[in-house]
Symmetry: C2
């Protein structure tokens, strides 16, 4: 099987990538965290691109498993979307994984090795196809609406979630900021006849207060 060190290197790299992206972490950061020399990391992952691609590949695999589990465990399409949002809410609140690696690396694409870019593209494809499937099912069951088609609707929801993560990070990793935006994006997909299940649970409105520049 895969060695213990191998997995621990991936863990450390993932943690660093979530908070710093691709360009701002180094082998020297990982080595002491795992308790091995730099050369050991190179033994398992010859180049930095290999390492980052491996982190993303594992991340995608876990993500797909989690998300497919959600699909079978939760029958109601609305509840599925809410569980998905809730997952990220928890991640941000618990401060482990306070950002989607795929989305983070997407912004760095022009300075990323090809192998990594491919994984990022793959992640976006994974996600939008899952959201598409959930929405399509929701439309069929009359619980969701997608007037412009399921594909664009999924793309829009995904964009809202990513934008919400960004806003939350700007607000100091505030899960309330994420929720306020992401949950409203889901609410907009609800059909009018969905009064019983998800009664627009009127969140408080956490405005993003500024750094230095908010005028009186």
């Amino acid at each position: 099987m895969v060695s213990d060190t191998y997995e621990k290197i991936l863990d450390a790299a993932e943690r660093l990538m979530v908070s710093r992206g691709y360009n701002a972490f180094s082998y020297a950061d990982i080595a002491p965290e795992v308790g091995v020399g730099k050369a050991t990391i190179h033994h398992h992952f010859p180049t930095k691109a290999d390492l980052a691609a491996a982190v993303l590949a594992r991340y995608r695999k876990n993500n797909r498993r989690h998300v497919e589990g959600l699909f079978t465990a939760v029958i109601d399409p609305v509840a599925r979307l809410e569980a998905y949002i809730g997952f990220w809410e928890d991640c941000i609140r618990r401060q482990d994984m306070p950002f989607c690696i795929g989305a983070l690396l997407a912004s760095e694409i022009p300075s990323l090795p090809d192998a990594v870019v491919q994984q990022v593209r793959g992640h976006f494809a994974d996600l939008s196809s899952w959201l598409g499937a959930v929405i399509e099912d929701g439309v069929a069951k009359g619980r969701l609406k997608a007037e412009q088609g399921t594909a664009v609707t999924a793309e829009c929801l995904m964009a809202s979630v990513h934008g919400a993560m960004l806003a939350a990070r700007v607000a100091g990793s505030d899960p309330a900021v994420f929720s306020a935006i992401a949950r409203r994006a889901v609410d907009q997909l609800l059909t009018a006849a969905t009064g019983d299940q998800s009664p627009a649970e009127s969140q408080a409105v956490p405005t993003v207060t500024a750094g230095g520049a908010r005028g009186p």
Copy 2:
């Protein structure tokens, strides 16, 4: 007033930051592009944090000017939002400035110097307060709706736009992908009585195709 070199350094730094973020560009990249020595850059901007903060400060100033000009030049609130989206559409199409620096740096926040983080926060505040003002005016004129309040609505629209930029970058800086998402976010704010001005101009639906499948 300010020297020519000073401005050219800011230009080069801005260009590099748009495509690479903060951590993946260096003084050595800028120097040859401007045609000066590294030491000259340090003369104008003692540290990298100073340089990045100055780039952001100028970016914000230009942005505020542009956006306030839009506010006075365009009277219809819906047209204002469409002009704002159209601006980014053009930026992506022309391939200069294919991303908002503020949003890009926001994802790097945990690894950014304080002075830069403050500018990023400031930019988000600038933007959300402008969008808030446009939406509020639109609501007053009966052209837009903001059931959850103007602040959250503005925050949501901003998130959609940022998410759309991300999706466009993943799709290889495709302006059509940006438009499909961002324009739909605006459409959702329209009141039902807005059939005359903005007749839901049924965009083609460019799906983000996955993996390596994008043509050259």
